[in-house]
């Protein structure tokens, strides 16, 4: 197992800057997720780590060793892609032992290794079946087993769950998280699904346009996004954003006559400089409380729609012309058209610059 370090990594294809200078350190044994929309450069970064792409510029280190010029096989990485690329005509056992046989590992040693992964991935009953006849979840376990059987320095996963049904994805996601913690292998995982990223990552790296926008633990990114983009991208649903101006210690919500009186010194201090300039307030749906009766400092809003989600529901309101979502339990009975009082938790308010979308206070 290794620590992985990227130094000023760039990969350009002609004029397209797929990856445009990123620095990243993946600690030994940790699970790092590269997260971003299509085209953000996450897969290219992963392919550079694997050795499938030669970087235009920059260095890649496994521990202290510079591997930038090495071929994939010299790097000893394990990879799993969206489509598992098992050998369909081979049995599960043959699939798993293939990388070992290819490296001419002695049979005794192979037997030992197989025993180990079969136990970890619970494959005992599947070994004799052809890979092609297995259901997708089993195929995925086999693909993972094959990827780790060689004891790679790093495990690289590119959207390994995205071909699965919703329900199954959720189950496999948990399985994968448990397995990684059990074997403790350094893992880099690429996805556009923020729920997967939050659930699995020790560290999430949010990428956009070939650059890293923010790096941190799921909780750091969720509670303290450095930009409107991250605040919106993380969370189901994302953060609410409302354009505001600052007047007399209050946030005045644009398109309404609502005023939120501020008490937090850090907010007031920063917003002094934003007098009569518009900025954006961000608040997560669960940090707004709704009440049937008037509350001090509450906003009177009309329920537009209710989206049940099992144990909780999302209630949609309109603030100005934008949808404003609140996550709430089933205590209060609510119907569309009803007016209720919403109270924003001031300690959870984030403030962003309207022009560049970056956080001022988060």
């Amino acid at each position: 197992m290794s620590r992985v370090k990227l130094e000023n990594l760039k990969k350009h294809y002609g004029n397209v800057k797929a990856v445009d200078g990123i620095d990243l350190q993946v600690e030994n044994g940790s699970f790092v997720v590269l997260l971003g929309p299509s085209g953000c450069g996450k897969t290219t970064t992963l392919r550079c780590i694997a050795g499938l792409e030669i970087p235009t510029e920059g260095k890649i280190y496994f521990d202290e060793r510079d591997v930038t010029g090495l071929s994939p096989s010299e790097r000893n990485v394990g990879m799993v892609f969206q489509f598992y690329a098992l050998y369909p005509h081979m049995s599960v056992l043959e699939n798993i032992t293939f990388p070992l046989r290819a490296c001419r590992v002695p049979p005794r040693k192979i037997e030992e290794k197989v025993k180990e992964v079969v136990q970890i991935f619970q494959l005992k009953n599947l070994l004799k079946y052809k890979a092609s006849i297995l259901p997708p979840g089993d195929q995925q376990r086999v693909a993972l087993a094959r990827a780790v059987v060689r004891e790679p320095n790093v495990l690289l996963l590119d959207e390994p769950l995205s071909a699965l049904d919703e329900k199954f994805r959720e189950e496999m996601r948990s399985e994968l998280g448990k397995l990684q913690k059990r074997i403790g292998i350094t893992t880099v995982y690429v996805t556009h699904d923020q729920r997967e990223a939050m659930a699995l990552g020790d560290v999430i790296v949010v990428m956009r346009d070939g650059l890293i926008l923010q790096t941190g633990s799921p909780q750091e990114l969720y509670e303290h996004p450095n930009s409107v983009f991250v605040g919106n991208f993380l969370g189901t649903p994302g953060m609410n954003f409302v354009e505001c101006v600052y007047e007399e210690n209050s946030l005045v919500l644009k398109g309404t006559d609502y005023r939120l009186k501020l008490h937090r010194p850090d907010l007031i201090d920063v917003l002094k400089d934003y007098q009569s300039r518009e900025f954006i307030m961000g608040i997560r749906p669960e940090y707004v409380h709704i009440d049937g009766e008037a509350v001090n400092g509450g906003l009177l809003l009309e329920v537009i729609a209710i989206e049940p989600a099992g144990r909780y529901r999302l209630v949609d309101f309109l603030v100005g012309e934008k949808i404003f979502r609140v996550r709430t339990d089933w205590g209060l009975s609510l119907v569309a058209g009803q007016k209720v009082w919403a109270r924003v938790r001031e300690d959870k308010v984030c403030i962003f610059d309207r022009d560049n979308g970056m956080a001022i206070v988060s």
Binding site: P37, E166, E170, S174, M198, G235, I304, A305, G310, R311
Partner: protein, 365 residues
């Protein structure tokens, strides 16, 4: 009202739809939720008239339409792959169904309707663009718009959003719901995505092996799942299940070296009454009802933390409870470390009891 009565459809050896009954009320957003292969798409195709059922009838407003040709039913269909015309621009794609010789809508009426729908869906700025130059989300909106211009009797959507990025899905899910409410239209949709189904539907029909196994509002099926399959399909995350043996005043988790939790005597009696020789009990509990603590209490069980999944407002903890994997949902600040020991309690009022063999509820709570 749309009604399917006892519909069956077989393809070779495969029974796609197996005696299915379904009613969709006017103005309802009805979602058929089920795994791949449950028969959802076949059902929708039968409603559209694109497949003939081997048995059973389709009714609309009391009139049998089983053999009526698709265009004459005036249902609008939106596929997963949305079948837009890539060479035409957005305007012409939207206008296409109205220009069909079947409807003979005058061109100024076409313009009026296209422009109003485009405005509604926020795609006015795209009207002159070729469809092939649009992003996935934009194409999805155009496909939706094309279904909306026609004012059909029912909108039928097959996996309308499941091929999209998650963020976009969330947006469109809200948009579908808003459009449904504003236009007061009737929608019949099918998906394997339980989260969007729960969010959008007025009523859900859960489908498995060619049959609808439960119908109800999202809240109803969540509170009162009829069987194990429903509980597995609807939750995010799924319900936890533990096979248990009945003791005098407790349930003992099977193969767990005597892990047990207490239940009231009346619960024990009720279970004893219902169980016949050989019946086995599967106890179900939603993850948000599993209590987890760093310290023990009366009849709490020891569990090992496998890992913690962070989900913003809440955390899911994967636990090993006497050899059984269970998931707990935490909303407070207690975040146990992987590998650590915690204590678990399963409150009796949150338990569901199922038969292991049939998967059916032993009794309704």
């Amino acid at each position: 009202m749309l009604e399917l009565r006892n519909i069956s459809k077989v393809f070779g050896d495969i029974v796609a739809v197996d005696g299915l009954n379904l009613e969709v009320q006017d103005g309802e957003f009805f979602v058929i939720l089920g795994p791949t292969g449950a028969g959802k798409t076949t059902t929708l195709r039968i409603v559209m008239g694109l497949e003939k059922p081997d048995a059973g009838e389709v009714y609309y407003d009391g009139q049998e339409i089983t053999h009526v040709a698709p265009p004459l039913r005036n249902f609008a269909f939106m596929f997963e792959s949305h079948n837009l015309y890539p060479v035409l621009n957005v305007y012409d794609n939207l206008a296409f169904p109205l220009r069909s010789p079947l409807f003979r809508v005058p061109e100024d009426e076409v313009r009026r309707r296209v422009e109003s729908v485009a405005k509604e869906l926020h795609i006015t700025h795209l009207l002159k663009r070729k469809v092939s130059h649009l992003s996935g989300g934009e194409q999805q909106r155009v496909a939706l718009g094309r279904a909306l211009v026609r004012k059909p009797r029912i909108y039928i959507l097959d996996e309308p959003i499941s091929s999209l990025d998650y963020k976009l899905r969330e947006e469109l899910q809200t948009e579908f719901k808003r459009i449904h409410e504003e236009y007061g239209i009737t929608i019949l949709s099918a998906t394997h995505d339980n989260i969007s189904a729960m969010a959008m539907a007025s009523r859900i029909g859960i489908m498995e092996h060619g049959r609808i196994i439960q119908v109800g509002s999202p809240r109803e099926v969540y509170i009162d799942p009829a069987n194990v399959s429903v509980a597995r399909i609807i939750g995010a995350p799924s319900m936890n299940f533990l096979e248990c043996n009945l003791g005098d005043d407790k349930l003992v988790i099977k193969d767990s070296h005597d892990f047990f939790f207490r239940v009231k005597l009346e619960t024990v009696r009720l279970l004893e009454e219902k169980l016949r020789g050989g019946d086995r009990i599967l106890v179900g509990i939603w993850p948000e009802n599993v209590l987890v603590s760093g310290s023990t209490g009366e009849a709490w069980m020891k569990a090992v933390v496998e890992n913690v999944e962070y989900h913003g407002a809440e955390k899911f903890v994967n636990l090993n409870l006497g050899g059984w994997p269970i998931k707990a949902l935490l909303t407070d600040d207690f975040v146990p470390k992987h590998g650590s020991e915690v204590f678990v309690s399963l409150p009796e009022e949150s338990l569901y009891f199922f038969y292991v063999d049939s998967g059916m509820r032993i009794y309704a709570n």
